[in-house]
């Protein structure tokens, strides 16, 4: 189940981190694996997380999942205070960074900040890839 997250009025919409059973299962698997350090722990954690349902992955993990879907690996994730994040990744034999900072708004809570940063970095990655691929065409 996924729901459209609301941001405070005046904040431009960004795609939030994935929610629902998969997010919960993956989050549970992360914790299960962390506790048990084996597949049994991950599967058990995943089952518990899936049952808990509507959870999101931490920003770092959510971004790593998204990058992995595009066959890219994040080399480093930097949290620049509460309102900003930067990622370092490799693409076409070169190193690149993408950085995002939330708009100034005291009304944004931590969940909304994490979701906004996720959506903004994903959007910037898509823009980067489309521009980069165009540039590489003969």
């Amino acid at each position: 189940m996924s729901e459209r997250l609301q941001y405070p009025i005046g904040i431009e919409y960004r795609e939030p981190r994935p929610r629902g059973a998969l997010g919960g299962a993956l989050l549970g698997a992360l914790f299960g694996y962390g506790l048990a350090q084996n597949s049994g722990g991950a599967i058990a954690g995943g089952a518990i997380g899936g049952a808990l349902g509507n959870q999101s992955l931490p920003l770092n993990e959510a971004l790593r999942q998204k990058f992995a879907e595009k066959n890219l690996g994040i080399i480093s994730f930097y949290r620049l205070g509460t309102h900003a994040a930067k990622i370092l990744f490799r693409h076409n034999k070169a190193y690149w960074t993408l950085e995002s900072r939330t708009p100034e708004s005291p009304e944004m809570n931590l969940e909304q900040i994490e979701d906004w940063l996720y959506g903004d970095l994903v959007q910037k990655l898509d823009d980067f890839l489309s521009q980069n691929d165009l540039r590489l065409q003969p």
Binding site: G20, A21, L22, L26, A29, G46, R90
Partner: protein
């Protein structure tokens, strides 16, 4: 999402955790846990040639200081890649 899809997603997640637990984020090279497991495997194997390499990066701090941590991490990543491509 049905049960099969959830289990498939968990299997992929588990494979990723396994890989992540045994490799270094910045270099993608195997980490201390992988080394420890390999050491145990080597100890029980016969006639297996084994090489252990200790390497250091001279004046690395200057990269971080001059160009920032992201550049330093990119340098570590590239060095890891060179090691991987030339030794494995």
């Amino acid at each position: 999402m049905n049960l099969k899809e959830a289990l498939d997603a968990l299997k992929i997640a588990f494979a990723n955790f396994e890989k992540a637990a045994r490799s270094d984020d910045k270099t993608s090279l195997q980490n201390a846990l992988a080394l420890s497991e390999a050491k145990d495997a080597f100890a029980t194997a016969d006639d297996t040639p084994t090489i252990v390499v200790f390497a250091d990066i001279n004046r690395f701090k200057a990269i971080n200081t001059e160009y920032g941590y992201a550049a330093g991490d990119a340098a570590i990543s590239q060095i890891g890649l060179l090691i991987y491509e030339n030794i494995t």
